[in-house]
Amino acid sequence: MLTIKNLHANVNGKEILKGIDLVVKPGEVHAIMGPNGSGKSTLASVLTGNPAFEITEGDISFYGKNLLDLLPEDRAREGVFLSFQYPVEIPGVSMVNFMRTAINEQRKYKGLEPMSASDFLKMMREKKEYVELDNKLANRSVNEGFSGGEKKRNEIFQMAMLEPRLSILDETDSGLDIDALRIVATGVNKLKSSENSTIVITHYQRLLDYIVPDFVHVLYKGRIVKSAGKELAYELEEKGYDWIKKELGE
């Protein structure tokens, strides 16, 4: 479903991604790990079309479509979802209004009628159960005054609402205490199916105790330098990244 070939990307004229190759199939969970500044978040931004990044080379194909040809909103409508590392606040815009606009835009893209208000509210009620989100959430403005944990739960709630084909979780574990981490991970696991795929970007192995990856990739200096099964995460946790640097002859 997702094939990344030789992807190069710059930010402010500096090359961050230096030739990424990655294939993700339906139902798979891929973890991307790596030291700070290796390009993990850049990869998430580039996949979702953040205009701050410039693609200099390479292809991304998603279900046969060239993702790089699509606007960020169309990528989202195609089913690419990013759980942001730092979700932004949008004062005055209620979650209900925000989500309904998002859902109906997605439906319009698929040629479907907008959802009725009652169906929509029912869906919201159901989906917020996934992440044990407060009832009052609906009337609050998007992320405004949310705690760090609430923001991350709100991201996964939106993921549940939008039912993406590819979810990218960018440092979703950062800033979460162990209970919030469990809630978020449980939510993600409930949403997993044989149809959709997940890319988990993380520093730490602890999230991978809950969201178990099929593959672990190490991103270093803009390249994937090592790929293996979930055991690689434990090895990294134990030994740090230095041994990889050594392997690379640095």
């Binding site: 909103e73 989202a76 942001f84 949008i90 815009v93 925000f98 998002a102 109906n104 009725s116």
Partner: protein
């Protein structure tokens, strides 16, 4: 509600100024230009009593002694007052008695604008006075309101039918000598609306006046006069549009409101005069004096305005809080895009004891526009325990526009508490990308964010207007983010 939101999005994709059409209505002009004979001619066209002609002439002579004010933060090209028609009316001498007598082309015009003049078609229970160019075309629901003793009619009719009321109140809040444009209006005003709510009556429906400039090179100078007797209540709405024309057109109106004991008036405006094109060509000059006098104890006035149109806006709806415990409120959203300029705000004059006022101003600037808040809070020596809270927020889109705040505070009583808060913010690229990532296009994202920002004010509008205003905000800012 869901349908409404979808409609907003649909509207968004249409864009541009959608009220810019002109109607092919036969128009009766008087000669171009301004002099005493023109003032006399307008007065005689309307068969006015002698006192009113005198009022006009005094105003005209006074206006001749005045200079155009230069204090606003606006660049106003020279206006040639001799190149304007001061009176234009759809041909049809007498006011129509029933809808059947109204020119079908005219009905079509208001239909296109979404202003229903067929009473049976009206769902929202709103009475409308429709003013095209210089005259009132039709007032709906007049009879049913009359049963409650409420007078809602065009200003011309009021002069004819209720001369004593007009004479008593006209000019009592905004005198002809008040300012340059008030003097001009007082000399040449043509029509407008008159509202009188008798003692103890709560007006059961929203009253609304819809102003439309159609004729070319024509100025619109209307007056609105609202009187609420003791314990009365009314909510009044005003809307305005104009065709797209390359020339600038002048609109200089006066609104006067008199509020007696325990009475309350809510005045809402959705101002959408043609703003000019993307290069700043054409558009309406909107120079308006609006003032309410809270005469009685415990009286209350509330101004809510959504200003999206006009090439230049110069307007400060004000409250004179004379009655003890009287309350003045001002809620404003002013949007400027392209080359629009706005200098707008409010004046709160505290004269009575225990008076309070509240100002919420939300400016939104985009393109190359300039948007200023200018406000005065004045507390007189005898106004014990006056209270004011002002909040002025500016939102900038892009880096070519300007936002300015000019708060004046003038306090002569030490028991007063006056607070002023101001913020300036920008729509961040992160906010837009966050919306994009959820499948919301950039245009829609801006619409959402701006409406969120203005929510506090939009919530004050009557329901039907709030929806309209939301759409307007989004449309006005279309193309402002590249």
């Amino acid at each position: 509600m869901p349908q409404e939101n979808d409609n907003i999005i649909n509207e968004l994709t249409q864009g541009e100024y959608k009220y810019g059409f002109t109607s092919d209505i036969e128009t009766d002009y008087i000669p171009m230009g301004l002099n005493e004979d023109i003032v006399r001619l307008i007065s005689s066209k309307k068969n006015e009593p002698e006192w009113l002609l005198e009022f006009r002439l005094k105003a005209y002579r006074y206006w001749l002694t005045l200079q155009m004010p230069t204090w606003p933060h606006l660049t106003i090209p020279d206006i040639d007052y001799q190149k304007i028609y001061y009176y234009a009316s759809p041909k049809k001498k007498e006011g129509p008695k029933s809808l059947d007598e109204v020119d079908p082309e005219l009905l079509k015009t208001f239909d296109k604008l979404g202003i229903p003049l067929h009473e049976q078609k009206m769902l929202s229970g709103m009475a409308v006075d429709a003013v095209l160019d210089s005259v009132s075309v039709k007032t709906t629901f007049k009879e049913s309101l009359a049963e409650l003793g409420i007078i809602f009619c065009s200003f011309s009719e009021a002069v004819k039918d209720y001369p004593e009321l007009v004479q008593k109140y006209m000019g009592s809040v905004v005198g002809y000598a008040d300012n340059y444009f008030a003097a001009l209006n007082s000399a040449v005003f043509s029509d407008g609306s008159f509202v009188f709510i008798p003692k103890g009556v709560r007006c059961p429906m929203e009253l609304s006046t819809y102003f439309r400039i159609n004729a070319i090179n024509t100025g619109q100078f209307e007056r609105t006069l609202i009187v609420a007797e003791d314990d009365a209540y009314v909510s009044y709405l005003e809307g305005c549009t104009a065709p797209m024309r390359d020339e600038n057109q002048l609109h200089a109106a006066i609104v006067e409101i008199i509020i007696n004991e325990r009475a309350e008036v809510k005045y809402s405006t959705v101002q959408n005069w043609y703003p000019g094109d993307k290069q700043g060509k054409g558009g309406i000059y909107n120079f308006v004096t609006k003032r309410a006098l809270c005469k009685g104890d415990h009286s209350k006035v509330s101004w809510t305005q959504v200003e999206t149109g006009s090439a230049i806006t110069w307007k400060y709806p004000s409250c004179i809080l004379r009655g003890d415990h009287s309350v003045g409120e001002f809620y404003s959203v002013a949007v400027t895009n392209n080359y629009q300029q706005a200098d707008t705000g409010s004046k709160m004059i505290h004269l009575g004891k225990n008076t309070s006022s509240h100002i919420v101003s939300k400016g939104i600037s985009a393109g190359y526009s300039q948007n200023s808040y200018r406000g005065l809070v004045k507390v007189a020596a005898k106004a014990e325990n006056a209270r004011n809270f002002s909040q002025c927020d500016s939102l900038l889109l892009g880096d070519k526009c300007g936002a300015h705040t000019f708060p004046y505070i003038d306090v002569h009583n030490e028991t007063a508490i006056v607070e002023h808060e101001a913020t300036t913010s920008k729509i961040s690229e992160d906010q837009v990308f966050y919306c994009n990532q959820r499948g919301i296009s950039t245009e829609d994202a801006i619409g959402l964010i701006v409406n969120g920002y203005a929510k506090e004010v939009l919530n004050k509008l009557p329901m039907e207007f709030a929806v309209e205003a939301q759409k307007l905000l989004a449309i006005s800012l279309e193309g402002s983010v590249g």
